[in-house]
């Protein structure tokens, strides 16, 4: 039995038990969270109705999947309340949910029971186009149901120094992606501009653009080259809009004030995220050695807080890889301890106008944490609820990164009603 399966079998409470225990948390969001936690497996019956002319097939992404393979499977799923499930195909021995065909519709099935019906993501029209330079536009911008992702460079300089974050597989995955699909490691601004122009021709298809990449340490000031490159790409994107600002999110390294002002004033970017990944200095030092050595936990936090003066309250956030704080061997010893520490820090950020959200940690085969088990469903439900409550308490908006403009955070799904 694999380590992963053993962990799943030890899970304390089942999906239905968690739904009953937390009546204030929508069942659909709990399902999404558990599906992200455990992954999915498409049955042959389900795959028989997938039509690549209509449905979005997995496109290039910054991080790899939990089966370590790049296969032409559906990109992901939607629930009936509009919630996105951003989820990886997962080896059967890890006990994922099955996506099966039931009465002619796709359904999430667990232990032979239908849990919920789902829809596949529809392919945007620009996916069939190529740029003037001959690159498939799906390799330039990957689509979510209502968002465009631009991964402008898929190399992270922390990896060059063997100091990549321990849950991250960016460089290993992108080598594979370049080798198997020919995806460019670094995007040219003119290709990005042309792709955005094409994507905007489809009315009602997108509400947000997210730009991100690995960290670039070079420059006069630390990260200056990363900032220059983002500005170049954002200006290219901006060519397509009649207004200077357009709904958008930048997820990047923690920039200094001068760099943030340049970004905000020169481009159309409207929100700023810099991921602390884990809200505890000691765990951060262990899990994110590159970030710890270059800036350190406290300076990373200070820069986020300073960004609020530039981008405004509710437009600055930090992302966590929820669950890595419990990774073995140096993570927190209990889920209660981990939650307490996380909420305390999230609150100290919220007081200063910075909002915190998480993605469900998936131990990826190309990362240092491969083979580990992510925490229980109950842990993730409590984490989502706690971060949402902190956001509500401090009246922090999450419009730039909500269920529709992102769709990858159970806690911001809950904040849909703020």
């Amino acid at each position: 039995m694999s380590l992963a399966l053993a962990g799943t079998l030890h899970a304390a409470l089942s999906l239905n038990e968690i739904v009953a225990k937390y009546p204030d948390i929508p069942r659909l969001i709990i399902i999404k969270t558990d599906v992200q936690r455990r992954g999915i497996h498409y049955t042959e019956r389900a795959l028989s109705i997938v039509d690549p002319a209509i449905h979005q097939i997995r496109s290039p992404y910054l991080f790899g999947s939990r089966d370590g393979a790049i296969k032409p499977l559906p990109e992901s799923l939607l629930l009936r309340d509009g919630t996105t499930i951003f989820v990886d195909p997962t080896p059967l021995e890890q006990n994922p949910y099955q996506v099966d065909l039931v009465e002619g519709r796709l359904a999430l099935v667990d232990n032979g029971e239908v849990v919920e019906f789902v829809r596949l993501w529809e392919k945007p029209l620009y996916y069939d186009q190529k740029t003037s330079s001959g690159i498939p536009m799906s390799h330039i911008a990957s689509a979510r149901p209502q968002r465009l992702n631009i991964f402008q460079s898929s190399y992270c300089h922390f990896w060059a120094e063997q100091k990549g974050c321990r849950f991250c597989d960016i460089v290993n995955h992108n080598k594979q992606q370049k080798h198997e699909l020919g995806v460019p490691v670094r995007l040219k601004p003119e290709d990005v501009s042309e792709t955005i122009r094409e994507a905007l021709k489809e009315p009602g298809r997108f509400t947000n653009i997210c730009l991100t990449a690995g960290s670039v340490l070079k420059g006069k000031d630390l990260f200056d080259h990363e900032v220059d490159y983002y500005i170049e790409t954002l200006l290219a994107i901006g060519e397509n809009f009649a207004t200077k600002k357009f709904p958008s999110e930048l997820i990047s390294s923690a920039f200094n004030e001068k760099q943030l002002i340049r970004l905000y004033e020169q481009t159309g970017i409207m929100s700023y995220t810099s991921d602390l990944e884990v809200l505890n200095e000691e765990k951060f030092n262990w899990i994110c050695p590159g970030k710890a050595d270059t800036l350190g936990y406290n300076e990373w936090k200070k820069r986020l807080i300073r960004a609020v003066d530039i981008f405004g309250k509710g437009n600055v956030g930090t992302g966590l890889v929820g669950g890595v704080e419990l990774a073995k061997p140096y993570g927190f010893g209990s889920e209660d301890e981990a939650l307490e520490a996380t909420f305390e820090e999230a609150e100290s950020l919220a007081v200063n106008g910075v909002t915190t959200f998480f993605i469900v940690w998936v131990p990826r085969p190309g990362s240092d944490f491969r083979g580990q088990q992510n925490p229980s469903l109950e842990y993730f439900v409590r984490l989502a609820s706690g971060l949402h409550q902190i956001r509500a308490k401090y009246r922090l908006s999450i419009d730039f990164n909500d269920y529709r403009r992102c769709g990858n955070h159970p806690d911001t799904d809950l904040s849909r009603l703020l």
Partner: protein
């Protein structure tokens, strides 16, 4: 259990002159009722409602309804008839072909407006709210519920 809408009600829903009201409830159970032109019937017998504003109270209440299995109510008022449909939100399309079709249509019709979602509401019960029909129904089913003077013999000479 889903109910099928009568032909009379379907044609009322198609009539542009018909007044359509949507009632939802907030977190504390307080009702919120608004006139909604965009309520219409779909080919499969469900009711579709086009929500333009992501942050509207109605949209929030519909999200609550789909999350926590709450009911909504739709009142349809024509010149001579009125009906109430109790229903539950089954699904909301925030993307995909149905959403994009309506997005293009509303922008064609109304100019520079946005669309948040296409709500699909399953009709669970239909009540004919015509006052005369409601009165006859009550008198038949609940014969005690009337004032005696209505049944009194007319007095001679008055």
């Amino acid at each position: 259990m889903s109910v099928q809408l009568s032909d009379e009600l379907v044609s009322l829903l198609h009539d542009r002159e018909t007044i359509k009201l949507l009632a939802t409830t907030d977190e504390s159970g307080t009702p919120h009722v608004v006139a909604k032109d965009s309520i219409h019937i779909a080919e499969d017998g469900t009711i579709h409602y086009l929500e333009h504003l992501e942050s509207s109270r109605t949209n929030h209440n519909l999200v609550r309804a789909i999350w926590f299995d709450r009911r909504v109510s739709i009142v349809i008022i024509g010149t001579h008839q009125s009906f109430q449909i109790k229903g539950r939100p089954l699904e909301v399309h925030i993307t995909g072909p149905l959403f994009q079709k309506h997005y293009a249509e509303v922008r064609h019709r109304l100019g520079d407006v946005d669309l948040s979602g296409v709500w699909v509401i399953e009709p669970l019960e239909v009540i004919n709210e015509n006052p005369e029909i409601r009165r006859q129904e009550e008198e038949k089913r609940r014969p005690f519920f009337r004032h005696l003077d209505r049944l009194a013999k007319p007095l001679k000479g008055i």
